[in-house]
Amino acid sequence: MEMGIEAWSLLLVFVLATFIGFDVIRNVSRLLHTPLMSLTNAISAIAIVGSLLIAGEQKTTFTTVLGTVAVAASMTNIVSGFLITDRMLKMFRKPGERK
């Protein structure tokens, strides 16, 4: 299985992003680990990018159905993931700040 230049480039991007991921996540405050889980959950809904392409290409009925379901599934994650994260974060009061 020969890898083209482009595939190597994808691999490099993956490696770099993983380095960043580890560094960034390690610095997330323990306080916020629950919101972190739902935020990354929302971010993983980036799969919508692929789903949009399949649903929009409309090559065959089969793929359009799969694509539409995939778009719906990803969109659910985006909406619920970001909303619930924000809902949780709103609860974290600044020191001294009380309702």
Binding site: I20, I48, A55, V71, I78, R87
Partner: protein, 462 residues
């Protein structure tokens, strides 16, 4: 030109995703992080819609509307249901990845443009996607207690599971070698779906949080694989951020529970060891509410250690009232937060934040422990394993070596729980038998409420 816009929005989206997670390092900037995440996602979607291959927006619109309709109620669940919501979400993520991979395989098969590299990437995407799909559904079911939460085990379980995965991988390798052998494709899908189910079957409900973190990592990696399939770098960067996040959270949980990391990777955990509980009946000392209130009133430094029981009883608002009563008397009150108190990382923090307790009063384990000998009263509310001194002293204990909050070092300890039953790890807790420990038996919410009433009653007497 469309190409330029797509690429520019992808680069910008990547930057924003990184900042989104980076801003989570402090509650002050955290909400800005959500904003950045939303913007990044928007850029990703809009950038993709510029793609000239997209010929019709009709089905896209349907998908988006359905997703929104499903997503809004899912975001309104009670905070106690957050773990199962997250699991369900991972299932959707896995499903999307699996479906996209499937669509691409058959499209490219028809067009005769399946390269080995493409098939390889699709196989990885589809295995990860579908196993995440069923695995997460199972996890959500166990957490919601639709499916029995106790671990179901049988002989050679690990062997069976592993064989399934190996079989799927072998089919994948053959498919890479001979991309046109399409009947192998559904076999891989079915094996992956099955593997996802069997992976979760032997794991107890209480261990689900660690599993969810791992499934989060898998969902991220499935997105990465999709990026390799579609030659799309935004999928790769966002997926990698996600993958590392799930991975790190799983590791943090393992460390705090003193489990080895391989233990997690092979899913062979969660068998609650109820057998270890020694049944030699030692003596607990019970306290009356009046005793407790008197000691509390005379304290100058009180540390509250909440645990899973506080979450179950939803006692956080009562706890807030208790905190108010005590601080009103000039008593210094802190909350000591163990990293795996409760059933998910950060569980206590979210609940206490919900009850409007300022986050600078939530002290991490490592910061509070050196202070413990100075503490007048440690009030343990529905926590058990995270204050079990056996972790420090008893080499034979299953939790030996796990870092704990040293509540036993305080001058006096009050423990609120309903019975003499053990906690998650299924073992007895020496703390409850200690000379300076007094038990307050009852539901966490009820007992805390009683304490508050007693305190405020006394206040009005004066």
């Amino acid at each position: 030109m469309a190409e330029q816009l797509t690429q520019a929005s992808y680069v910008l989206a990547t930057i924003l995703f990184v900042f989104s997670l980076r801003w989570l390092n402090h509650p002050k900037t955290a909400r800005r992080g959500v904003g950045a995440g939303v913007l990044a996602m928007l850029l990703g979607v809009v950038g993709t819609l510029f793609d000239p291959h997209i010929v019709s927006f009709q089905w896209i619109a349907v998908g988006l509307v359905v997703g929104t309709l499903l997503g809004v109620p899912l975001s309104r669940v009670a905070l106690t249901a957050v773990p199962q919501r997250t699991a369900l979400s991972h299932a959707f993520g896995g499903l999307a990845a699996g479906l996209v991979g499937t669509a691409k395989y058959f499209l490219w098969l028809d067009e005769g443009v399946l390269t080995q590299f493409r098939v390889g990437a699709i196989v990885v995407e589809v295995i990860l996607g579908f196993l995440t799909f069923t695995g997460s559904l199972m996890a959500a079911g166990k957490l919601q207690e639709i499916i029995p939460t106790r671990p179901i085990t049988y002989r050679n379980q690990n062997l069976v599971n592993l064989s399934l995965l190996v079989l799927a991988a072998v089919c994948g390798v053959v498919l890479v070698a001979r991309p046109e052998l399409w009947p192998l494709y559904p076999v891989i899908v079915v094996l992956s779906l099955l593997f996802g189910v069997l992976l979760i079957v032997p794991i107890g409900g209480a261990d689900m949080p660690t599993v969810i973190a791992l499934l989060n990592a898998y969902a991220g990696l499935a997105a990465v694989a999709m990026g390799f399939v579609l030659d799309n770098k935004l999928l790769i960067t966002a997926g990698a951020l996600d993958g590392s996040s799930g991975f790190i959270l799983a590791v943090i949980m393992c460390r705090a529970m003193n489990r080895s990391f391989t233990n997690v990777l092979f899913g062979a955990f969660g068998q609650v060891q109820t057998s270890t509980a020694t049944t030699t009946q030692k003596a607990y000392k019970s306290a009356t509410l009046q005793d407790a209130v008197q000691v509390l009133e005379n304290a100058s430094l009180v540390v509250i250690v909440p645990g899973y029981g506080m979450a179950v009883a939803q006692a956080q608002h009562r706890l807030r009232e208790l905190y108010d009563q005590l601080t009103k008397r000039g008593i210094d009150v802190r909350f000591a937060i163990h990293p795996v108190a409760g059933r998910m990382p950060g569980h206590m923090n979210v609940l206490l934040a919900e009850a409007d307790i300022p986050y600078d009063h939530l002290v991490e384990m490592d910061d509070i422990n050196p202070e413990m000998p100075r503490v007048d009263v440690a009030l343990v509310i529905g926590a058990n394993d995270v204050v079990n001194p056996a972790a420090r002293t008893d080499r034979g204990s299953p939790i030996y070596g796990m870092p704990i909050i040293d509540a036993d070092k305080a001058k006096a300890v009050f423990a609120i729980k309903r019975s003499t039953n053990p906690g998650f790890a299924g073992i007895d807790n020496e703390l409850y038998f200690m000379d300076n420990t007094l038990m307050l038996f009852g539901d966490a919410k009820a007992v805390t409420g009683d304490l508050v009433r007693e305190l405020s009653g006394q206040a009005s007497h004066r």
